[in-house]
């Protein structure tokens, strides 16, 4: 694997490979000494143009547990407002000898631009770009669903037949996009539930079902419900009238949560708005996977970094190069 830019173009085989390597990584994390020597001497740069403490420390923990050197580069603000361009930042990292760049950027497509521009030879991991994708989040969600469902028997399995309902602001959610592609690639059936203003205008080519009513979706007893974080600035942009109304119609309140089948899991990528899209009862219940997701995030990111930096032989790299244009 040369880069991890999206789940849209990730094959089922590659996705399962990452998930299975993540299982191995998770096993090592139960040992007393968690650190592996695998990436000793490699340098991983966390290049964050947006604040995201959670994602950054998850990648940082993953890299450190593989013995890589980690540089955190926080370039808050966009390239235009800050003055330095993505190109100059990338070339600086190249000069410092970065082997992998984990990038979080507010502009959709920035990781692809970084990977295909020729500014840098490092492998690129997309840690969330604009409203496009957040592939490691989807991988950790898939890992979590698989682990809950199959436990120790998870390796090699896909998500065939598993029904996942994703609820919230799909329009602006990179988590939703990455999950739509990855979960369906793995055989899951995905339903999106959202106010009509927060679904993209044309999702006819998405392999999903779209519903506007949460109660209707929950009545179908899905295996997993994923609640997306609602950003309050959406309310100001008139996507919905008030917080209260959103919460009433699309929030996973105590009543809705308790009506779900006992084994239906509830996922949330965090950070949660308790009382808005998710109630405390749902977030803290046994069906909530929120903390498992955090733990699994480290394993999945270890797997991604491992496959980028240690797992690929020279032939593999060339094959991946040919896939990316320019």
């Amino acid at each position: 694997m040369r880069h991890l830019l999206d789940t849209r173009t990730l094959s089922r085989e590659d996705a399962l490979r990452i998930l299975d390597v993540a299982e191995d990584m998770a096993d090592t994390q139960r040992r007393e000494v968690k650190k592996l020597p695998t990436l000793r001497g490699k340098t991983v740069v966390n290049l964050f143009f947006e604040d995201s403490t959670r994602t950054r420390i998850s990648f940082e923990a993953a890299a450190k547990r593989l013995s890589a050197d980690v540089i955190n580069f926080s370039a808050k603000g966009s390239s235009v407002s800050k003055g330095e361009s993505l190109q100059d930042t990338a070339q600086t990292l190249q000069a410092m000898g970065a082997d992998a760049v984990v990038i979080r950027h507010g502009a959709s497509g920035a990781p692809r631009t970084l990977a295909t521009s020729g500014w840098i030879s490092a492998g690129v991991v997309n840690a969330g770009d604009g409203t496009h994708e957040h592939p490691t989040q989807a991988l950790l969600d898939a890992f979590t669903i698989r682990k809950r469902r199959f436990g120790a028997d998870s390796r090699g399995r896909d998500l065939a037949g598993i029904r996942v309902t994703i609820v919230g602001d799909v329009l602006h959610s990179r988590v939703a996009r990455s999950n739509v592609w990855l979960l369906t690639t793995l055989g899951a059936h995905v339903t999106l539930v959202s106010p009509p203003t927060l679904v993209p205008q044309d999702v006819s080519r998405w392999p999903v079902e779209v519903l506007y009513g949460l109660d209707e979706a929950l009545a179908r007893e899905p295996d997993a419900v994923m609640m997306l974080r609602i950003q309050l600035e959406r309310m100001n942009a008139a996507y919905f009238p008030t917080e209260r109304e959103y919460s009433r119609i699309w929030g996973l309140d105590a009543r809705r949560a308790s009506a779900l089948p006992a084994d239906t899991m509830v996922l949330h990528p965090g950070p949660m708005n308790r009382g808005l899209e998710i109630s405390a009862e749902a977030a803290d219940s046994a069906r909530s996977t929120v903390l498992e997701q955090v733990a699994n995030g480290v394993s999945v990111r270890m797997a991604a970094l491992y496959l980028l930096l240690a797992g690929a032989g020279p032939d593999d790299r060339n094959a991946a190069d040919e896939e990316s244009p320019r």
């Binding site: 966009s78 361009s85 959709s108 920035a110 006819s204």
Partner: protein
């Protein structure tokens, strides 16, 4: 380059064997800046003979929509470099959009542009005046002063911005009737396109880029044709890009509304699928649309609903495109590639003849812009603005094809047919055997 007199003297030139508007071969004799004889087997009569056997001869092209960036943004283009790019593309006249710095909203600025164009001498540079002061959409600029200036402005546009306030649009449409002017509208509802990055649809949904919906263009065009009808004014619609817009123009023309419309070469050829790699060369406003929109604008151009092809040549410095999609500037250079793209999209597909190309790229843009002495047929007594184009070669478009200061072309690396061999502006050769001359009319 040797020192030359400020004005080159027009030569007597005899072009042998050109297919005028693509028809049977004939010779064209040019003297004193005019076409003095057209026919088969003309005698040389002291003229310099130029073999254009089998090349398509068209009247010098006229671009109603060019951004020359001077004054203010000379890092992207100057009137001189843009004029050279125009000559390379077969143009004899370009209309310069007013989004310069300062904005061309006064007689002083448009006269300065006119003078710089005359000094460059490669094409007629006809300034377009801003509709509103500073293109801010708040109050009308001194349109009359620009019309009465030496630049004789007849086309007014806030291009880049839509004249969104319906009352200001109505007043502007009415006001320019006093001097036979026209408002060229950049049709884009600003509220419906806040933060817009690409065409809204299936591809934007996937790429997570904020959508620029077709309705934001169509609703303004619909409003404007109704306004133009109500006040009996002339309206020109810039760079129309959607199937729905074509339908609205067709409907308006059927009703007798005095409306004309343009399409860019890139909207005749390229689709939104090119955005998938987030390569900012394909970022443009209005954005690249769907395959069905491309089909509709081609059909609209073929059936006369769309009157002209205009380039929207928009040069940008390298750093404005060497960045993430969201930070990149909108726009593509287009003067050098326009005729080749039109051949590819319209002529080679059988949708337009070369005579049609002369109409949509020369005669009609000159007429809409009320630019005298351009867009005239290749017949005796008319100004000698000519382009000789070889439609046969199929070549990869590259930076060597670009004569302007910027290289933000969407066609780099793409196969395009044709090559412009000679361009003549007012009897002066500006492009000789495929190369732009250092000075018009001066061949070494």
């Amino acid at each position: 380059m040797t020192q030359s007199p400020p004005t080159a003297t027009p030569e007597r030139l005899l072009f042998r064997g050109a297919r005028i508007d693509g028809a049977a071969a004939a010779d064209i004799l040019v003297a004193d800046g005019l076409i003095v004889e057209v026919g088969v087997g003309l005698s040389r009569n002291g003229a310099t003979e130029i073999d254009v056997d089998g090349l398509v001869a068209l009247p010098g092209l006229v671009d109603l929509h060019t951004h020359l960036r001077e004054p203010g943004y000379e890092a992207s283009e100057t009137i001189l470099t843009g004029s050279r790019a125009a000559a390379a593309g077969g143009y004899a006249a370009v209309f310069a959009m007013p989004n310069t710095s300062p904005v061309a909203d006064t007689a002083g600025v448009v006269e300065q542009e006119l003078a710089l164009g005359e000094a460059a001498g490669f094409v007629t540079v006809q300034p377009i005046g801003a509709v509103t002061v500073g293109q801010k959409g708040e109050r009308m600029a001194e349109l009359g002063a620009m019309a009465d200036s030496r630049a004789r402005v007849r086309v007014f546009s806030d291009d880049g911005f839509c004249v969104w306030d319906p009352l200001i649009m109505r007043r502007a449409l009415e006001y320019v009737k006093a001097f036979d002017g026209v408002i060229a509208q950049h049709a884009q509802d600003p509220r419906l396109t806040e933060g817009a990055q690409m065409n809204e649809g299936a591809v934007s949904a996937e790429l997570g880029l904020t959508g620029w919906p077709a309705v934001a263009e169509e609703s303004i065009i619909a409003r404007d044709v109704l306004l133009a009808e109500h006040v009996g004014s002339r309206l020109h619609v810039c760079h129309l890009s959607t199937a729905g817009s074509v339908e609205i123009i067709r409907w308006a023309k059927k009703r007798g509304v005095d409306v004309t419309a343009e399409v860019t070469p890139h909207h005749l050829l390229l689709t939104e699928d090119l955005v998938r790699d987030y390569d900012p060369r394909f970022k443009v406003n209005p954005p690249l649309r769907r395959e069905e929109d491309v089909r509709a604008v081609r059909e609209g151009l073929a059936d006369g609903t769309i009157d002209i092809v205009a380039t929207d040549h928009a040069p940008h410095p390298a750093e404005a495109k060497a960045c993430e999609w969201g930070a990149a500037a909108n726009g593509m250079v287009g003067l050098e590639s326009a005729l080749r793209v039109v051949q590819h999209a319209m002529v080679d597909t059988g949708m337009l003849t070369w005579a049609d190309v002369a109409r949509v790229m020369s005669r009609e843009p000159a007429r809409i812009g009320r630019l005298a002495g351009h867009g005239t047929p290749i017949t005796v007594g008319h100004p000698a603005h000519l382009v000789f184009h070889d439609p046969a070669p199929m070549r990869t478009f590259g930076t060597a094809d670009l004569e302007g200061r910027s290289v933000n072309s969407p066609y780099l690396g793409r196969e395009l047919p044709g090559v412009i061999r000679w361009t003549v502006y007012g009897g002066l050769v500006t492009v000789a055997d495929g190369a732009v001359l250092d000075r018009p009319g001066v061949r070494s």
